[in-house]
Symmetry: C2
Subunit: 167 residues, 2 copies
Amino acid sequence: MSFVRSVIPEFEAANAKYAASFDKGHLPLPPGRKVAVVACMDARLDPAKVLGLQEGDAHVIRNAGGRTIDALRSLVISQQLLGTREIVIVHHTDCGMLTFSDTELKSKVRSELKEDADHIAFLPFKDLRQSVIDDIAILKKSPLVLDVPITGYIYDVKTGKAEKVKE
Amino acid sequence: MSFVRSVIPEFEAANAKYAASFDKGHLPLPPGRKVAVVACMDARLDPAKVLGLQEGDAHVIRNAGGRTIDALRSLVISQQLLGTREIVIVHHTDCGMLTFSDTELKSKVRSELKEDADHIAFLPFKDLRQSVIDDIAILKKSPLVLDVPITGYIYDVKTGKAEKVKE
């Protein structure tokens, strides 16, 4: 049996510290820089630090792989209700999404959880650069997404650099 | 006609600065604190600052409202492939999701984009506290999610404080 220590006491202590010197209570709801960032959930990637975002600047949508098809609901809300007019996509090197296939994960879920995950597309990819190009194309083709500038980056977890993906 | 200045030059300048003093190139892929955070995409909420996360600590999944049903794909990947064993949910005051109904947004999309969004559930909510309770319940009931500690917070965008939601 393993004892895993909960993060909660540390999270609450960190929040008390943050709130004690908080001076951002005046910010409006719509993102000030009118941009929505779609990035991977990876622990090593902090989109605010990587792109220089301050509180109030940008919507930040994150999921496994930073896949845009999985961000569509949020992007429609971001554009239609909160006025963002630019999209930035951030995938990254050494991504977990490069390490498995949809079939493999479905088998693992069946074996570990005795459950069927056939209704979920896990959206892994084999080629990092292509994953960014594909995710830009999905948005450009979607009739639900406005025709706005879309820029894709590959963030290098070893160097901290975000490199623009040229199509 | 309005000219919107792209964020790209500023993002790239910020990234160059971040990379210049980057010292986190050694971090492993699995989150060090074995936690997945599900938070709203709101521009005013920076989960890393609010909860004291450093690069490498936690998966951060974000979408409109911080809805857990929309984070299921990412959570299964986080738990089954990358070993997270705790979930923290962060919704917040003054959330855009409190300001519209699913029907209203579908009408707006039809009117603005001449497109049908009937295949998307936009997942707005009318009661903030209840939205956190509902999102915890969705995960506890899902056979695809491990039986791990789940804690929900309401982040106050006016004070910077995250308040635990008691069920």
